[in-house]
Amino acid sequence: MNVFLVETDKTGLQKFYEEIIGKFETYAPVEKFGKYDYKRISKLDECDPDSPIETTMSIKPLFFPKTAKVMKFKEDNTGTTISETDEDSLTGKRIILGVKHCDARGLQVLDQVYNWDYIDTDYQKRRGNTVIISTRCDKAGTQCFCTSLDYDVEKSDAHDIRIVNGLDGKIYIQAVTQKGEGFVKENISQQSAVGSQQSLEEIKKHYKSFEASFRLKMDYKEVNEKLQKLFDSPEFETVSSNCIGCNTCAFICPTCHCFKITDEKIKDTGVRYKSYDSCNNGYFTLMAGGHNPRPVKYRRWRQRALHKFVYYKERFGMNLCVGCGHCAISCPVNISIFDVVNQVAKV
């Protein structure tokens, strides 16, 4: 991990923020009715990069839009012609402030599926154009369990730059990736890089109580190993019985990436869309003719739980859950993926 550090304080950080907000297309958590969401901002006081609770939606839609136009088509008597949509060209540089470590990790996980074999170029462009500036959490939220999973929150390199607190009101701007280092050097003039060893010790002291603030903890390795053998567990039926199939969990999840392709046509012109879908939908695997490999709810939940904690790890080497707790917070019937996998693995 890169340890390019710049030491500053609250006013210095604000100055840095203001400077970059003025230069680039910026997204940051914006409060509305006590909840936070990533919105486009033009001034620092519109947003709160240190938002105390998780945002409702992850940063996923900024890379993988809820609904994207794939193409337009037009029919006439000579046939059908396909044309480009008038979506943005994806060339402008963007920054996202106040990203939580779990959300940033979500992108690293998505990279695996979008960059294997066929490469999703739009996703790639958005990734390449965006600098992610994260804020280190001081303590865990009620549904957080990021420290229990297969990645190290302390050493995460999922973001380009992270803002961390030191002792006595000191704030460090730490570039984690090459891209981040270039960005900091380019956009910060008044401060110079500091010796890292002592500062890193200070940071550790400041976040001493972070690990202890987690309500939810689990042994990831054990759960993963147990679930591999529990495909036929009857517990899946119990844990999923409350689910009303609203798919909120999948839509706000930083790592859920299933989508559907639909056409919309009025008279002789139309648009093809790519939009979110979820394995919790009853029709998700329904084939023409009526055959459905996952016709009942518990089988769909089994797919969801095992895909997150077993299959994706097996295929791409990363867990498809980052422990952010978004799903548990927004679920209308209080189902948490943490409870689901632990209850199944416990028996």
Binding site: G79, I82, E84, T85, H257, K265, G289
Partner: protein
């Protein structure tokens, strides 16, 4: 524009009525250069869109050894396929993405006896391989085709089957489920005819099978009884797919993407997958 999801436009050159609910659409790409460079292997599939109605996954039912066109045989089963049957006419445009997926192991089965077991529309992917093998006849040994349908009018590719029957180097066995007055061939379900009439030897033989799930299920039992090793039985799976690129997540069985790692699997591989197809 997401290039991966944008189809290439093709013209419907010819529509062939196979059965009351199956039609074969012969397609040619609008750009002749693209058509010439369009290569595929038997068993691969395409995403076929009737723009404005939707996109469906169909295997290519002809072989790339017969150049200048490709066939998709479509059974009327759902919303888009019903629209295709009722609205798609000769000369109209359709969008095609592909070819995607893996293919029948045409090199591994060289020098082997081949036994094709097909049922209903399941002959479509096999037809691509059969044509490929006929066009490379010297690479393969004995050829047996067992094909069954519910009734004689539900048989696909009737004219082509007549040609196969006339070909002295092919053995063709047909069957229908229930007796009919004018029917002179076998009567009975495919697994039964396989055991009682075909009685294939296992030596140096590969079985390639495709058909409705219930037929596959009992055919696998029969093949097991006849002594075929699971690694010598090859089939092609049908799963709900949309992107064909290993992204959209529909066709997952465990950590396997049917659209990328399949659709062609050996029975041995299928046994190692979670029971969810």
């Amino acid at each position: 524009m997401e290039q991966l999801l944008v189809p290439v436009m093709c013209k419907v050159d010819k529509i062939i009525d196979e059965t009351p609910d199956i039609r074969t659409y012969r397609l040619k790409m609008n750009d002749p250069a693209k058509m010439e460079s369009f290569g595929w292997m038997p068993g691969q599939f395409v995403e076929f869109s009737l723009l404005g109605h939707g996109e469906c996954t169909f295997c290519i039912s002809s072989s790339s050894t017969r150049q200048g066109y490709f066939d998709c045989s479509i059974k009327r089963a759902g919303i888009v396929t019903a629209d295709i049957h009722s609205q798609l006419e000769e000369g109209m445009d359709v969008g095609i993405r592909g070819p995607y997926g893996n293919w029948f192991p045409v090199d591994d089965i060289k020098g082997k006896n081949l036994l094709f077991v097909g049922g209903g529309i399941g002959l479509a992917p096999l037809r691509s391989l059969i044509q490929y093998c006929i066009d490379n006849r010297s690479d393969y040994k004995d050829f047996t085709i067992l094909y069954g349908a519910r009734t004689s009018s539900d048989m696909c590719y009737k004219e082509e089957i007549e040609e196969w029957k006339k070909n002295p180097s092919l053995k063709v066995i047909l069957t229908i489920d229930k007796p009919e007055e004018t029917w002179k061939e076998n009567v009975g379900v495919v697994p039964k005819i396989l055991e009682e009439v075909v009685k294939p030897g296992t030596e140096n033989t590969k079985v390639i099978t495709c058909g409705p799930p219930i037929m596959i299920k009992y055919t696998l039992v029969s093949l097991d009884k006849l002594g075929f090793a699971p690694k010598d039985v090859i089939t092609t799976l049908e799963m709900k797919m949309q992107c064909g690129l290993g992204k959209c997540g529909r066709c997952n069985i465990g950590s396997t993407y049917v659209c990328k790692d399949g659709p062609v699997f050996t029975y041995e591989q299928l046994k190692s997958l979670p029971d969810e197809f």
